[in-house]
Symmetry: C2
Subunit: 267 residues, 2 copies
């Protein structure tokens, strides 16, 4: 039984290299989101450190998935009784650094870690190693949930992989520019429709050095409509996932079942 799940998508300007400030902003947003009735707060891509900060800063700041940032976020999550999804540079034991996102529960547990698989041009390639394709999911309130990061969601392979693994919701921290508004305006809703799932897309707005971000954060429903969508201003976008809407969409459309019935699923 999937119970109503309310997300709060934090659409804010990036604060590059200001880790302490970002953790403080996260604490405030978690408080505000919890007060609004949300069970999950979703931050944009690389929220803890900033995104377009360069390879040297990324290498210097990167932490393991269970490092000090995870502990700080866990404390925030527990303080406000809300799950937190955040982006950060993750360093593995070999020293490789990934563009990562992590879901920490309201109880402070690390539920799901993800590494960006499809690197976006030089901006990603200069800073990060690519994660392996993953269909990892976990469950919350009856919802099967996966993570992707920004450019990943533009690849139907990535969303289908999670759909075939049973995902009802994919949460996507992002850092998307106005040149690619089409992604938030059209592509994300189509991903939701063609996979009979919810897709939550949390973007920055404003500038990070020379890079500008376009907002338009949204929760797309399995019927292809936006449950809620932001404009380009700072906001904490509140939107709720509903089991009846999911079931109706899955009765009306059966792309995932039909795709699963056609082996091999090789492109």
């Amino acid at each position: 039984m999937r119970t109503p799940l309310t997300l709060a998508l934090l659409q804010c300007a990036p604060a590059p290299l200001d880790v302490a400030g970002n953790l403080q902003r996260l604490d405030q947003a978690a408080q505000q989101a919890a007060a609004a009735g949300a069970q999950v707060l979703v931050c944009p891509e690389m929220f803890i450190s900033g995104y377009a900060i360069g390879a040297a800063a990324v290498q210097q700041l990167a932490q393991p998935a269970d490092g000090a940032w995870a502990q700080a976020v866990a404390a925030i999550a527990q303080r406000h009784h809300i799950a937190v999804v955040y982006g950060y540079p993750e360093q593995d034991a070999s020293g490789a650094v990934f563009n990562a996102a992590q879901w920490i529960s309201a109880q402070g547990q690390r539920c799901l870690s993800y590494r960006k698989t499809y690197l976006f041009g030089d901006l990603d390639s200069n800073q990060f190693a690519a994660g392996a394709p993953s269909a990892a999911t976990f469950m919350l309130q009856g919802w099967t949930i996966g993570l992707l990061i920004c450019y990943d969601v533009e690849f139907p392979e990535a969303t289908r992989r999670l759909a075939l693994a049973g995902a009802d919701l994919i949460v996507v921290p992002t850092a998307n520019m106005p040149a690619y508004d089409f992604v938030a305006q059209a592509l994300v809703p189509v991903r939701a429709y063609e996979n009979q799932m919810y897709v939550a897309y949390a973007n920055y707005m404003g500038a990070e050095g020379d890079v500008h971000y376009g907002g338009l954060s949204l929760l797309a429903a399995p019927d292809g409509q936006a449950v809620a969508q932001a404009d380009r201003q700072p906001t904490l976008l509140i939107a709720t996932l509903d089991d009846a809407r999911l079931s109706t969409a899955r009765a009306a459309n059966r792309h995932v079942r039909d795709a699963a019935a056609l082996p091999p699923h090789t492109l």
Copy 2:
């Protein structure tokens, strides 16, 4: 060198079981399309026989890909100096019947045959066997071209398969109902965008027995915009593919190259 390629998408009411009448309509549309400067006329799904005609009629009417209909269409194509893409029930040597489409050149040659791979619910399953996934293409005026039919295009697997095979254009005869307007309004443009290709979608309007079709035929450009889109009225929609627009989109976006670089392409 891709030279400008002009398509004429025939959006008309179906005429179920009226093969002679449909061939006559095809002849008229070919004349009109050629006069408008088109090099290709694209008809809706199962145009020759009608689509929702039932298994018995489909079995009775079905022809091989090189049968009398192919010869009749070749004569029309040659008479008006225009290529023709048409849908029809195809029977193979074993007696199996497929929901098929075929491209016949202005010289009357069979350039490409395709069998619908993703069957749309009972409507297709009761009438047709499923075609095997195909990435077959051919070239015209420098454009690499593939075919899909209706529901196929809703599967990103099908379009990506053709994109990875080098397709610049996918032509999609369709028979889509207003309940699925989202496909013409949002999904087809996203297919074009995410694959850096043109997608031509030629739909019926009006009724075929109890089934109603919603028009909205379009040519979607590689930048995700519609070059031209019909409303719900009968029309012959004229739209031109442009190499510069394709090249610009491929410079701006590299999803196909990035997808190709990530083996294995298994969902």
